[in-house]
Every structure is written in structure tokens, then in C-alpha cells.
């Protein structure tokens, strides 16, 4: 069993994910971590701290080998590493919501201090693609920025939503690093410099990413999932009710392959095999884990795995030697193996007995007495059907999943309920069900991303049980979803039920209902492009991605189909001309982007240039851009005011203290009253600044998203060109060019 080689207990809290090890003097590894109240502490056990009380760092009053760094703002990310290769030692990088600080710990000086308007949610340090110098890449609100050691902005691009995690990994195996970005819209995007080469959709916010061997990387989600990808294929994932705080790749069993080490919110640390997810080692802290790192903290030439908990406990583990492979855990392997095998045996025996009993029971005819025990005709099958329902007065439009048993009476026939009642069909009352009619007691749907939690339950009341259940489903996003259904089938009086398990896929654009074209409501916004595909192939694509009624028959090109969104009633037209030109009319720019990306994937299109016009959206964007300018100027004005006030404070304080020394209590009191008022003003000013800043961030996010959306309308090279050109236009504050690029894809006419 693997035991920690050292355990330290620091008397400082550690903020989750904000801990890093660096050799700030080029020799001694030190641990730096963000702690409470906008401070960063540096633990240096190797040399007694020589820091005098200089500008930023001062010695911690609690511990002699810890020095504190005052940031005066809540730290949002932290890392350490080589930023300037000429320097020969590591720099410490600390990000806050507005700034990025690159700090030279050894000389106790700033390397640079840059304002980052988009905030810094995540940071990674290293070389990206062909850019020669190491970059500190920060991810903020929809934007990514890379700085070199002088603080020059060498890399800038946008992504779909707020960035939560970053990692550098050689994704395509070309020897150069690509940037992995995990964001709030559940996507992991891979940037080869500023080109997106891959996108993987996950089921929750991606909170951590870490590179593993070659093209493998680990990821963690905010719902407690951790897993490993190799390129775009997921090897495995597991879900826990706890949250993964930090993940790191480390070869703990010395087999030459890194394991995924996860630190959990309940204090557990586990190491999982990279291919299978099997746990090979675990340990427990008394509280949540703040970070998992590696470093030669004892300076004996061997790298340790270092785990930190939020209350400052630090443990280091040396990798196990090759002989103890597979035996890092406490319990003995063979005992566990025997237990597992015995359990398997017991399960098989139970299953056998079930069949035996079933065979016995089969001989007796189905009788009333079988009700409670839930024996049902063996031929019972379940039917499922997906359809689009336009909704009724009491219920908004939705996708309807209908499940019915083959031998249960249905309360309603096929078709929507409303219709049935109008036709005057008498509904059969539930109590007229004979005992031989099977009922559906409950349906459990496990699906990711479309329900509040991971599951949705339909449990009809005892009075309205029947052989069929209609379940409204409203996926919030246009992604294909697998619905894993578990249906409990039995009788009204049953205490045991059969569980039917099956999986249905919900197509990507299931929330759009086919409707009859109505030229008056045709949206003015459109995208159009030309593809070299036969119309039949497009029809296949339509069938796969939309819920079309069974009798839909689409003739040859040219044709047009019209859909209505179930979410907001918006119209969607897809027209195909003989020439292969496709026009998509919709006011929803995201939807247009989704359709183009889905088509590109289906037809394997590498590059696609698109002409687009979204007048309404562009007008909104124009307003946003104007607002951004306004907020910027307000921000500057407020900052200037604040500087004035702080000067005033200084002089007031001096005068008040003077008065005190002169024993002129009345003047002193007055001065302090003034100071108090000023302080109040400052606090108010601060609040205004905060509001202004949030507004600014919101608008900047909208701008970044607009660029991203314009990019998503194109595929391949045109896509990157659009993003790069948009960015230039924004830099030069040329709004008209920006819209032009978004429309036609290039700046030049």
C-alpha cells in the first residue's frame, strides 16, 4: 500500500484549483497558492525567507517559511512556470477578475501587470503551436488571450461561452501543443492556434482539463463527472455525487503510463487507470481537496504527487515501484477478487433460480393471484414513439414520447388527446381495466442535459394508471440526446414490476415541427451557400436530424421545407435549388450555425464559405458596441474620481492627526466626520463601478459571442478568416467593416 512520504499542515486556507509549484529562484521548488482575502501565500521550506518588507510580499505571522503576497482582489486563477526562458527561473502568474499579474518572486518585482477586460477564469502557461515564446494564456468571458513575458498580447481569439478550464495538449500528434478550452456551454474546443480543430459536447460545465500522455486528456464536469478522452473519442467516464476539484495526470504505479488523479470535494483522492477508469489507488483528506500537482518537493531527484486540501494540509506520494503494480491499495487483492467472484457466482445462481421459478410458474395459467407478484404475459412488449406536439392551452409545445404496452388497454388511442375528445370518443374509465391488462406504473428516463437533474420520472397517480404514458420532453439545446428508458410494467395491485430497459435517440433538431410554408412569415434573415450534394442526401440528413411525420414525402430538388420552432414559434425555411444552392431562412443565428455545422459534419465538408444576413441581430450588436464604448468612458471617469478621492483622504487623515496632536479635539472630530462622509462616497462609487463593470462584461461577452456566432456560420478556413478579420475590425473600432465581414466573410469587397 502506498503511504504519503511527507505530510505538511500549513495554517493557511487554500482556494480550490489555485495552487501551483514553481522554482521561483531556479532551484528550490515552492508551493504558491491563493488563500483568503485576496492573498497568495508562498511556502518555501528550503531556504529561510529573506524577503524584507518590500512592495508586495511580507512574511506570514503564522509560519516562518510562508510569505504572503497581497493582491487586494479576489484571485480567480493562479499558475507558475517558465514565462521568460532567458530568466532561468519560474514566474508566478496570478489572475483576478480584471487583471493579470506576472510576478518575479525571487526579485520581488512585477514582470508585468496587465488589465484583462474579459476577466481571467482560467490560466495555462506554455508554448502554443508555432508561437515560439511561452505564453500565459488566460480564458475569460468568451475570450482567450495569450501574453508573453513582456505582457505583449500575442494571441487572441474567441470561444462560444465563458471559459472555465484550459489545458495545453498535443491533440493531433504533430509535436506542437494545441489549446483545449472548456466552457460554460458544455463544449470542449480544441484550438490549433486560433483555428478550432475539434469540438466535443459534454453534459455540464467543464471545470478542469488536464493533458495526459500523447493525445489523451482528462476532464472534469461540475456535476461530478470525470473522464478521459483520446482525441475526440471518450475512453471512459464516471460520475460521483461529489465534485471533482482538481485533476492531474501522474504515473503513480510506475508502469510508464500516466493515471488520472482526481481530488474530490469530499476529500477523497483517487488514481484511475487511463484506459479503463479502474481505481488503482485512493486516499482520504478530512476536507475538500484544493489541488493535485507534481513536483520534487523534497529535492531528492524524484517527482512526487502532491495533494493539497482546502484547509492547508499537503501530502506527497512517491510513485510505487514496479513490483507493487496493482497493489497500491490497502485491502489485499486476492480477498477482493474472491469476494467479487463469489458475488458474481451468487448473482448467476440467483438469475438461474429466477428462470427456474419462471419455468415453474409458466405451467400454471395466468390467474388473478399473479397480480401482486406481477407475473405478466411473456409476450408483453413495449412500443415507443416520438412525435412533435404543438401543445395545448395548458401545455406549451413539446416533443412527445409515447410508451405503451402491447396488452394493456389505452386510455386514449393514437393521436393527440384534444382531438379524441372533440370527436366524442368515450374515454374508457381506468377501473374498467380487467386484471389481465398490464399497466405502466412508472417511467424513468435517464438522459443528459435535457432535464434538471440526470433523470426524469413519470409516476401517474394510482387512479389514472393505464397501459400507455405520454411524456413531454423539451430539450433546451439542439443536440442529439440518448434517452435511456426504464419502464415499470405490471398490474394495478402489483408490488413487483418488470423493468423494461431501452434506449431511444432524440434527433438534434427535434424541437422544430414541420409546418406549411407561409411566405408572409418568412424570416428576412438568411444564410446561403452552395454544396455539391444530391438532394436525396439532403433529405436523408433532414430525416436523421428532424422529427418528420412518417408520411412526409419530399420530391426532388428544387424543394423547400418549413419548420416552426417549438420554443418560440420562430420559422425556419430550408430551400434547395437545382444548382445545389441552399438557403436557410431563420432569425436565430445560433440555429443557422447549428444547421451548417451539422450539415458540414454529415456531408464531410471541410471548407464552406457562407453569405449571411441577420439585420435584427446586427442592429442589436451595433447598440451593444455603442454601449461598450460608453461603459469604457464611464469606467475611466470613475477611476479618475477614485484617484482624486484617495488623495483627499490622505490629506484629511494627516490634518486630523495633526489636530489630535495639537489637542484640538473639535477640529479633529470635524476632520474625521469629513473622512467618514468621504468614505461613504467612496463606497457608493465602488458600487457604481462594480455595476458598471458587470454591465461592461456582459456586453463584451455579447460582442465575443457575436464573433463566435459569425464564425460558426462558416466551416474550416473561412471560419478562421472570419474570426480573425472580426477581431481586427474590433481592434481598429471599425464597426461597418465588422458587419461586412459577418455578412460576406471577408473584409475586402
Amino acid at each position: 500500500m502506498l503511504l504519503p512520504v511527507f505530510t505538511l499542515k500549513l495554517r493557511h486556507k487554500i482556494s480550490p484549483r489555485m495552487v501551483a509549484i514553481g522554482r521561483y529562484d531556479g532551484i528550490h521548488p515552492c508551493l504558491a497558492a491563493a488563500t483568503q482575502a485576496g492573498k497568495v501565500f508562498i511556502h518555501n521550506p528550503h531556504t529561510r525567507s529573506q524577503h524584507s518588507s518590500a512592495s508586495r510580499a511580507f512574511q506570514s505571522p503564522l509560519e516562518s517559511d510562508v510569505s504572503l503576497l497581497n493582491i487586494n482582489q479576489a484571485v480567480s486563477c493562479l499558475t507558475a512556470g517558465v514565462l521568460n526562458p532567458e530568466l532561468g527561473y519560474d514566474a508566478l502568474l496570478v489572475g483576478t477578475q480584471t487583471n493579470l499579474l506576472a510576478y518575479d518572486v525571487y526579485n520581488n518585482s512585477d514582470l508585468f501587470y496587465r488589465e484583462v477586460a474579459d476577466g481571467t477564469n482560467a490560466i495555462v502557461l506554455g508554448t502554443l503551436g508555432d508561437i515560439s515564446s511561452p505564453l500565459a494564456i488566460v480564458g475569460g468571458n468568451c475570450a482567450l488571450q495569450g501574453f508573453d513575458h513582456e505582457g505583449n498580447d500575442l494571441f487572441w481569439t474567441v470561444t462560444g461561452d465563458n471559459v472555465h478550464s484550459l489545458a495545453l495538449c498535443d491533440f493531433d500528434g504533430d509535436g506542437k501543443k494545441e489549446l483545449l478550452v472548456g466552457s460554460e456551454d458544455f463544449d470542449i474546443r480544441v484550438f490549433k492556434e486560433d483555428e478550432i480543430v475539434a469540438e466535443m459536447t459534454e453534459t455540464e460545465i467543464i471545470t478542469s482539463l488536464c493533458p495526459m500522455d500523447s493525445s489523451r486528456f482528462g476532464y472534469a464536469l461540475s456535476n461530478g463527472t470525470v473522464g478521459v478522452y483520446d482525441k475526440t473519442a471518450r475512453y471512459w467516464r464516471i460520475k460521483s455525487k461529489n465534485h471533482a476539484m482538481s485533476i492531474h495526470a501522474f504515473d503513480l504505479n510506475s508502469d510508464g503510463v500516466c493515471e488520472l488523479i482526481t481530488g474530490w470535494s469530499n476529500g477523497k483522492v483517487d488514481a484511475r487507470h487511463d484506459r479503463t477508469g479502474e481505481v488503482i489507488f485512493k486516499d482520504n483528506f478530512s476536507c475538500a481537496v484544493a489541488g493535485v500537482l507534481e513536483g520534487d518537493y523534497r529535492m531528492d531527484g524524484r517527482t512526487q504527487l502532491i495533494c493539497c486540501s482546502v484547509d492547508g494540509e499537503i501530502r506527497g506520494y512517491l510513485p510505487g515501484t514496479a513490483e507493487m503494480t496493482g497493489n497500491l491499495m490497502d485491502t489485499s487483492v486476492e480477498q477482493d477478487l474472491i469476494r467479487e467472484l463469489s458475488q458474481k457466482k451468487q448473482n448467476l445462481l440467483l438469475e438461474l433460480r429466477n428462470y427456474e421459478e419462471n419455468a415453474k410458474a409458466e405451467l400454471s395459467p395466468l390467474s388473478e393471484a399473479d397480480g401482486p407478484r406481477g407475473a405478466i404475459p411473456a409476450s408483453t412488449t413495449l412500443h415507443t414513439a416520438l412525435s412533435v406536439s404543438l401543445g395545448r392551452e395548458t401545455q406549451p409545445a413539446h416533443v412527445e414520447l409515447c410508451i405503451s404496452t402491447s396488452n394493456g388497454k389505452k386510455l386514449c388511442g393514437a393521436g393527440p388527446w384534444g382531438l379524441l375528445c372533440h370527436r366524442g370518443v368515450v374515454l374508457e374509465l381506468p377501473w374498467s381495466l380487467s386484471p389481465a391488462d398490464t399497466i405502466i406504473r412508472a417511467v424513468l428516463i435517464f438522459a443528459e442535459g435535457i432535464f434538471l437533474g440526470e433523470s426524469h420520472v413519470v409516476h401517474p397517480s394510482i387512479h389514472s394508471l393505464s397501459g400507455s404514458v405520454r411524456i413531454p420532453v423539451t430539450p433546451p439545446k439542439d443536440v442529439p440526446v440518448d434517452l435511456h428508458l426504464k419502464t415499470f410494467v405490471g398490474y394495478r395491485s402489483s408490488t413487483q414490476f418488470h423493468v423494461f430497459e431501452m434506449t431511444r435517440q432524440l434527433p438534434r433538431f427535434s424541437m422544430y415541427a414541420l409546418s406549411s410554408p407561409d411566405s408572409a412569415s418568412e424570416p428576412v434573415s438568411y444564410v446561403s451557400f452552395i454544396i455539391a450534394e444530391r438532394a436525396q442526401r439532403v433529405v436523408i440528413w433532414l430525416n436523421q436530424n428532424f422529427l418528420l411525420p412518417e408520411d412526409t414525402n419530399i420530391q426532388n430538388a428544387p424543394f423547400q421545407v418549413c419548420f416552426t420552432s417549438l420554443r418560440n414559434g420562430g420559422q425556419l425555411y430550408i430551400k434547395i435549388k437545382l444548382s445545389g444552392e441552399i438557403t436557410i431562412n431563420t432569425d436565430d443565428i445560433d440555429l443557422a450555425g447549428d444547421i451548417i455545422q451539422s450539415m458540414a459534419a454529415f456531408f464531410a465538408i471541410e471548407d464552406l464559405q457562407v453569405e449571411a444576413d441577420f439585420p435584427v441581430y446586427f442592429e442589436e450588436l451595433r447598440k451593444v458596441l455603442v454601449k461598450v464604448d460608453e461603459y469604457h468612458s464611464v469606467h475611466q471617469k470613475l477611476s479618475a474620481e477614485m484617484a482624486d478621492n484617495s488623495n483627499l483622504i490622505r490629506s484629511l487623515l494627516v490634518r486630523a492627526e495633526d489636530a489630535r496632536l495639537m489637542r484640538d479635539m473639535k477640529t479633529m472630530k470635524n476632520r474625521y466626520m469629513e473622512l467618514y462622509d468621504l468614505n461613504k462616497d467612496l463606497l457608493n462609487g465602488y458600487k457604481i463601478r462594480c455595476n458598471n463593470h458587470t454591465e461592461l462584461l456582459g456586453n463584451l461577452k455579447a460582442v465575443n459571442q457575436a464573433i463566435q456566432r459569425a464564425g460558426r456560420l462558416r466551416v474550416g478556413k473561412p471560419k478562421n478568416q472570419v474570426i480573425a478579420a472580426c477581431r481586427d475590425a474590433i481592434r481598429s473600432n471599425n464597426i461597418n467593416t465588422l458587419f461586412r465581414i459577418m455578412r460576406v466573410g471577408t473584409a475586402s469587397s
Binding site: 503511504l3 486556507k13 483568503q36 482575502a37 492573498k39 506570514s60 503564522l62 460520475k239 455525487k241 513490483e323 507493487m324 489485499s332 487483492v333 486476492e334 480477498q335 474472491i338 467472484l341 458475488q343 458474481k344 457466482k345 451468487q346 448473482n347 448467476l348 445462481l349 440467483l350 438469475e351 433460480r353 429466477n354 428462470y355 419462471n358 410458474a361 409458466e362 399473479d370 407478484r373 406481477g374 407475473a375 404475459p377 411473456a378 435517464f446 432535464f451 434538471l452 437533474g453 440526470e454 433523470s455 426524469h456 420520472v457 409516476h459 397517480s461 394510482i462 389514472s464 426504464k486 415499470f488 405490471g490 402489483s494 408490488t495 413487483q496 414490476f497 418488470h498 423493468v499 430497459e501
Partner: protein, 715 residues
Amino acid sequence: MALHLNRADYLQVGVTSQKTMKLLPASRHRATQKVVIGDHDGVVMCFGMKKGEAVAVFKTLPGQKIARLELGGVLNTPQEKIFIAAGSEIRGFTKRGKQFLSFETNLTESIKAMHISGSDLFLSASYIYNHYCDCKDQHYYLSGDKINDIICLPVEKLPSITPVLACQDRVLRVLQGSDVMYETEVPGPPTVLALHNRNGGNSGEDLLFGTSDGKLGLIQITASKPIHKWEIRNEKKRGGILCVDSFDIVGDGVKDLLVGRDDGVVEVYSFNDANEPVLRFDQMLSESVTSIQGGCVGKEGYDEIVVSTYSGWVTGLTTEPVHKECGPGEEVKINQEMQNKISNLRSELEYLQYKVLQEREKYQQSSQSSNAKSAVPSFSVNDKFTLNKDDASYSLILEVQTAIDNVLIQSDVPIDLLDVDKNSAVVSFSSCDSESNDNFLLATYRCQANTTRLELKIRSIEGQYGMLQAYVTPRIQPKTCQVRQYLIKPLSLHQRTHFIDHDRPMNTLTLTGQFSFAEVHSWVVFCLPEVPEKPPAGECVTFYFQNTFLDTQLESTYRKGEGVFKSDNISTISILKDVLSKEATKRKINLNISYEINEVSVKHTLKLIHPKLEYQLLLAKKVQLIDALKELQVHEGNTNFLIPEYRGILEEADQLQEEYKRQPAHLERLYGMITDLFIDKFKFKGTNVKTKVPLLLEILDSYDQNALIAFFDAA
């Protein structure tokens, strides 16, 4: 000296009940002993360990579920005759497996507990106690509540036969012949009884008991009165006690106390100089420990604790050192016998898998034919739904013999489902449209592999009643699920007690009308937990209850045609009034309800709440300060400049935070109850004060006892 015990799994049989495994006496000191175990399939198995392999001595044919297994024999000789209770029958086997006794007791219910002493046989079904001597009926007693366990003090040491019953209503009943000599209250519903030191101590009167809420105690049952010796509170909130034994595992010459709990914890207590128990060892197994005994099974000369678990595992916790416990880096050799065992198991599995595949195909084929039917394989679910006194919440424990796949929880009353730390299952709450489908809670628990036991915590609100259902689906083919139902009663937070304070100001609710004793009893059962289903003997009965959250009390006395309920909490009376009139209307019984409200009782209840509320407010305030104080501490380096109060908070920070986390929403619950009290007080006066509730909440926000009482008086 720390006690190190190593775990060794011996064998797995079917699902087992409480107290169904025993060790046969050894032929000589510290020689290996044989294990006898009976399971739900009705199989009695006796086996010994030889070179790490379980070797069966005998195994009977399947039959009815075995509820108990005891050893007996002629007094003062080795007790090596095996007795089992299955259904209403007692069977006896010699240690070689020869059946020498089959005794049909003709009890209408199946036997739940059994004790054997020489030729005396003590049995109990749910409510009935019977004493047989040489299989002849001697004595009989009908208990007021369910009998969980039975024992008889050693007849060798005492002049008379003294059987003791552990009854669900928190009472030990000491019998003499067919009559109760006396009763003694214990702190929880007792589930198991055992003689201290296996022989009742020097006097032969020392009796150990364990309760379903995890408490443990020792009582001396003298001829005239009980003497409580010690009691261990369940501070770590561990599971209920299912089995105890006395055995010197530490090896200091004094017998230690071995305890097995329903959450899989095995504990060893030794006794200090003052003869008080001290925890020496605990280990967590993954499922309920149904039986426990100290002895020697695995290897001669090494003492061990042998336990059996719910799913039928017989496991030893042995003092024998594991030879491969060596420093890191040394190669671990899987020894020969282990390897044999594994390869045997593997080949067995292969054969089984093949067979299962065949059967599966057959099953699939049968589904094609139209007149065949598919029966649901039954599996046993071990469940427990109990009220915790400490935090006034219910805990629901579900245990299945195989791994659980998922559990669906559905409730038609508003309840809160709380997270339990030791669960690893992923919870997901589903939205529910309550009007059409009577669902207030729909939640799924998706269990991780190898989870056989799931624990849930539920917080109910008094006055809201209905049913909670759990659909349990294990990981076994063909997939099936089983429903378990649990009632949430109107006065769900009340608990039975035997003594109340008669000096409190009481409100009275009186029912009169044309109803029978059984009817009024059924209403009380409907409203209150821990009341026996069966109407008690006699014409008139009185039950006392205590509110676990507020410590208010309720006295209910009823007979044919009349029921009187007295409580110092006006809300309790109000709930009873509403529920009873609803129930009576449902059954079309004409009820006369009259009530007598004591104004002083409201003030009294508020005074009862006051210390709790004040404590909670203070706790919340302290917890709020912790972070800020810690920051100051970091900044300044020491805490000398702080006032002692703040220094105190810093010192106790961890405990405070722990405590705060342990009782989430405690303050909200108290507020809710005060609001109910306010509304109920005026409901009896005929005024609706719902509009004044916001004002009340405002007063609570800046809490002051006098202001609150004044508000209650003024409104």
C-alpha cells in the same frame, strides 16, 4: 494497545436473519470451531475451515425461512445441539446434522425470537410469548407491542425462571410465569438481548440490550427492580444494533463486548477499571451484520470475531497476522491455497455463465409464445424506516442481497430528502406536476457498482400526511423492481414515551360518538407512529407521546365511544382535530368534537422553544463570524487582541461548523412551528390571522422572547 484485526471471508450462504449464526463449542481450548448458519432458503449449514477452504460438515435441504438459530443441550454440558425456528416449527439437529426434534408449535404466526435453556424453550411470535418445557406448553403472555427478542436469565444461578421480553414500545418486560413482574423503559426500541459475559455476570442478573437507534446498555434485573448500570449513546449516529456477544478478543482476561450493527459496523468494547465500556476497535463491512460471535475458526490458536451479514457472508476478523503485510516494494505472493480457491471459483463461474446463457435464451424464446407468462423473480429487500430523535428526521434504509441498480423515491406529501454523506449514489430530483399525479417528490438514486445498501434521510412536516414509496431495482436479470411503502403520519415527529410531565398547562380535545374501541384505536394508529396495530387488551388505554423536535407532549386516553387527547402544544391538538374529523367523515361516523384551550399553554410552548431558538440563532451568528475572524488571525498572526468571546469562536470553529452543517434548516423549521402555533392559536378562536404572518416573521428576524410573547398576546 491497539487492536488489529484482519478480515477473511469464508463463505456465502443465502440471505440471513438476525441471530442465525453460532459457533459450536470447541473440543479443547483454542481449537478451531465449526460454524452453523441458517438462511432464508431454510438451509442449515455447518462448516469448518481447513487450509483456508470451507469444508461442509452437513447441509440440510431447503425449507421455510429460518428466523433464529440457537444452541442448546443438557445444562452444565457443552451446548452443542442446534435448534432452529422456521415458520411455526422448531427443529433440532445434532452437531453431525442428524435431526432429532421436529416440534410444531401450532402458533398462528411465525416465530420471531427464540431462547433455549436446558429443556425449557422460550418462543415469541409478533405479540405472543410462549414457554414450553419438554415441548409442553407452560406459560403464555400477550404483549402490548411487538416482541423483538427474548431471553431467560440463567436458571443455574437464579432460583426462578425469569424470561425477559424486548418489546418495540421501548420496554423490557420481565415475566414471572404468565404475568409481568415489572417493566423497565430503555432509551430506544430494543432489538437484541444478551447475557453479560455470556452468563449474566456474577449475579446472573446482568442483561445487555441493544436498540434499533444504535444505543447499548446494561441492566441488572433483580427480583424486585431493575438497576441501570451503564448506557452508550449513539453519538456517531451509527446504525441499529442487531447482535452482541461477549468474548475476550483483546486477550487481557476480561471478556470484551462485541457489537454488530445494521449499517455494517462491527465494534469491540473493553471494560475499564470502573467496569465501563470503552471503544477499542471498529470496522465497517458493507452490509448489515446479522450475527456475531467470538471464537476460533480460521486457524488454530488465533482468536477471531466471526460475523454473518445480511446477504449471507460469513466473515472472520482474526487476530492472525497477514503474512504479506510488509514494506512497500516487496513482492506479494498469492499463496497456493488462495490461487486454488480463485481458479476453482473461476471454473465454477464459467460453467454457471454457460448455463445462464442457455436459460436466458429459453426465456427469450418463451416470450415469443402468446400464452406463456413471465413471472417476476422475487428478491428480498431488508428495509427500516425510523424516526431519529436527535434531529427529528426519518431515516430510510434499504438493503438488497445483490447490488442495487437504482431506487426511485416517490412521495405524495411534501417532504425534504436530505443527503447522507456515506452514500455514493448519484441523486437526481425530477420535476413533478403535483396536481394531476399526486407527486410531491420524485427522485432517483443511481447507485455505483456493488452498492447493496442505501440510506436516505427524510424530513417531514407535522400535519402533512401520506405515503412514501420506494421502487428498488437491483442489478439482476431479468430486471425487476419492488415497491416498498411507508406511511408518513400526521403527527410524524412524535415518539412513544412512558412518562410525561403532568404539571404542564394542557389543551384538551374530546371525541364522543358511536364508535368502537377498535375504531378509535385505528385512528390513533393512523395519526401517530409507534402504536401497535392491534388494539391492546382492556377497555381503556392510555398512550403518552413526546414531540421529538419541540419536546411538547401528548396524552391520549380512549375507550369505546370516547377519546381524550391532551397536549401542551396547541398545534398538535389542531392537527388531531383536523385529521380525526376528516377520517370520521370518510367513514361516515358521527363525531362530537369538543376542545378546551388553555391560553397559558401557548406561552408555555413558546418558552419551551425559546432556548432552542436562541441557541440556533447564536450558532448561526458564530458560524457567520468564523471566516472573518480567521482572516484576521492570518493577518495579525495571533489572536491575543480579540475579545475572549471571539477567541472562543476561533477555538471551536470546527465543532461549530460541523454542528451547523449537521442540522440544516433547523432555524427554518423552528420558525415554521412558531408560525403554525400562531395560526392554530387563533384558529381555535375562530379568527384567521394568515395576513399577520409576515409581521410575525419580521419579529422572528429580530428575535426577542418578550416581544414574541407580546405579539402572540396582542394579535
